[in-house]
Amino acid sequence: MDVMAQERALLAALADGLPLEPRPFAALGERLGMTEAEVLEALRTLGERGVVRRFGVVVRHHELGYRANAMVVWDVPDDRVDATGRTLATAPGVTLCYRRPRRPPDWPYNLFCMIHGRDREAVLCAVERAAELAGLEDMPRAVLFSGRRFKQRGAVFGPTPSGEAAWTISTAAS
């Protein structure tokens, strides 16, 4: 198997998550005809190339009691936006934080984050705390609560044994 084919097979095998056993990478390798060392090496390469962001868990917000969320945006001067964004990302309740282009006149905002809370009031409190932490109190802002969701799926990267998408984009507002 060439490297690309091996990587694709590995990503597909990981689609349903990591096997829950003491040596999960050895178990994956067994399924794919790779050694544990080869699996670890392939995953490290994928990490270095930026294909795999990190290993970890994705929680279901609703099951954890976070029932409200909003996209919160600010207009921050270009020379301050990176430093401000880095701080904003560390605020409680912030799950994503990005810089994006402004689209004047309709859209003057360049710093975007998602903030989750138990309810709308908790989200608004978290917005205030985040603004204070990142020095954003005086910057123009908008809070866009999420309304109806019309579609949610993962992007598709090859078929999996279970027939589900082999990888998903883990964010609500990539």
Binding site: L14, A15, G17, L18, L20, P22, R23, P24, F25, A26, L40, L43, L46, G47, R49, G50, V51, V52, R53, R54, F55, G56, V57, V58, V59, R60, H61, L64, R86, L88, A89, T90, G93, V94, L96, C97, Y98, R100, R103, D106, W107, F112, L144, S146, G147, R148, R149, F150, K151, Q152, G154, A155, F157, W167, T168, I169, S170, A172, A173, S174
Partner: protein, 147 residues
């Protein structure tokens, strides 16, 4: 969920080691043993608290492209426009939001050119402007949501 579960969820949102005995390493950091951690994760998955446990991918790393797009849709055309937009397989998420720009969706495609082509198609079909707001920088979020 008890306190131990909460600590597990909080710790693992920050990352999981890639090594021969990752559960043993993660368990040590949490002051529990490997067997307990594996059993707890299995239970949290079964309860649906964890939707995924494994690698989190970056679409761009796979050669794909992702963007966030927004439209101002007149209220009386909302349902019609939702149907037109969602008919495109490139549309991954689509949310209504309370703003003049009231429809926000994520496009995920194999390459940049496909993003531009999909946006042009949606504009032609709906007669409405689509604002394209790709990510320019990402700021690292550590712990995502406290359990």
């Amino acid at each position: 969920m008890d306190d131990l579960d909460r600590r597990i969820v909080n710790a693992l949102q920050g990352g999981f080691p890639v090594c021969e005995r990752p559960f043993a390493v993660a368990a040590e950091g949490l002051g529990m043993d490997e067997t307990t951690l594996i059993a707890r994760i299995a239970a949290l998955r079964a309860e649906g608290v964890l939707s995924r446990f494994g690698p989190l991918y970056k679409a761009e790393g796979l050669g794909g492209a992702v963007t966030l797009a927004a439209m101002a849709v007149p209220e009386d055309r909302f349902e019609e426009v939702v149907a037109l937009v969602n008919a495109h397989p490139e549309v991954a998420h689509n949310y209504a939001r309370d703003h003049q720009l009231n429809m926000w969706f994520v496009l995920a495609t194999e390459d940049e050119a496909r993003i531009a082509a999909t946006i042009r198609a949606i504009e032609a079909e709906t007669g409405l402007a689509v604002l394209n707001m790709p990510r320019l920088a990402e700021y690292h979020v550590g712990l995502r949501l406290e359990a």
